[in-house]
Symmetry: C2
Subunit: 241 residues, 2 copies
């Protein structure tokens, strides 16, 4: 049962699940499966189910759930905020965030962000694909582009922010031990290529919920920084503990 | 001085450095620089130097070193061993390894590795580009493809191996505290898509110099796993301490 498919449909004992045209094309055309094949299904709510193909056609098909193979495993309540960059690297950041267990992915527009729009639907599809591939049972929601200043002005009560500052030579490389075990929700903020403006940096540092860390002596690309920061966070506070 | 160039030539006080055709095309054609422009040069041996363009032509040019702006900063003695995967992701792993501070990058052929050859020159060029971009003064050497079994049979005395096992549910997620501060050289091994074979896994676990860790509850792609493992290592034992 190596094929994993994300579906929107409810999953449950003996539940039948219709496939749309794209899914049927993928499963029967590309992957050459047919009636009787076993597929893993998840929908982000009902865990993972072993399902069997009971109808296979060119324009659709039907699967029947046979048994639950994993319960729903919610990731920790971690948001990843990042400034969109070139297309391929933006796609990678979304993929990496889903693999690393972000609960929500929020593209943000900073002073030095080049792009003023994103393709939310395309990025969401990358998150789905990453969840299919990494064995997760949850798909993070990719938000529309937010302006960073407005997001910070309207910041949710009690959510901590890990600010990865490439200019933070003096900042710690690990999370403050006092924060370990903090059950509060968190967010990680990765800057754009070209970094934050001085005004943004000063504002971020003054926020009472923000914690600045450095990511080592070399300047990491945004996609590398996203994985590195999420690794540090998952190990200290998340589901890698 | 935002442009950084890797050159093979020695660098030193008032040293002049000739540019080859490709470098001249990049600097004068693509980046539109001319005589008097300031460029950062490094060669992996003499640190970083501020250099000034003193001759600019279509087929070449000359720079003169003015002052050293960074000493040579060697990364820790860490090798990254990885099984080559699809072209774009192999390129990414090399780029990430250079950014994260690997001293040497070794593509390895495992039982489940698809590719039987690599383009060493192309991968080396990616490592150079990553070093130019991340501000490092050192360029890791990318080796030719090695067979993993032969590399392990001929393993250097005293080098520890961090084995990132996607099936290691029970393994620790952090390095054994007893290993912290260990000054021995290290290597990190990232498996291929499809993982290691059972025989390989058993052999790896039995090696006296190997330490198994898991990288969390989701299965990471090889490029994500490389960054995550190097983050854990750099923070515990490397130059992020």
């Amino acid at each position: 049962m190596k094929i994993r498919l994300y579906v929107e449909h409810p999953l449950g004992q003996e539940q039948t699940v219709p496939l749309d045209r794209d899914q049927a094309h993928y499963l029967f055309g590309v992957m050459r499966q047919s009636v009787g094949a076993q597929v893993a299904l998840f929908n982000g709510r009902d865990g993972e189910w072993r399902a069997e193909v009971v109808e296979a056609g060119k324009r659709g098909g039907v699967l029947a759930c046979r048994e639950q193979t994993k319960p729903l495993q919610m990731p920790p309540d971690l948001w990843l905020l990042f400034a969109p960059i070139k297309k391929a690297r933006t796609d990678f950041i979304v993929e990496k965030a889903a693999e690393m267990g972000a609960a929500r992915i929020i593209p943000v527009q900073t002073e030095f962000t080049n792009s003023e729009r994103i393709r939310q639907d395309r990025l969401q599809a990358h998150a789905v694909e990453a969840a299919e591939q990494c064995g997760g049972t949850y798909v993070p929601e990719v938000s529309e582009l937010h302006r960073l200043d407005r997001l910070l002005a309207d910041w949710p009560e009690g959510r901590q922010l890990l600010f990865c500052d490439e200019a933070a030579a003096g900042a710690g490389l690990a999370l403050d031990p006092a924060l370990r075990g903090a059950q509060a929700p968190w967010a990680i903020l990765i800057g754009p290529e070209g970094g934050f403006s001085e005004a943004e940096r000063a504002k971020l540092k003054a926020l009472p919920f923000a914690h600045t860390i450095s990511l080592g002596p070399r300047i990491l690309r945004a996609d590398t920084a996203a994985v590195a920061a999420m690794t540090l966070w998952q190990q200290a506070l998340g589901d890698w503990q």
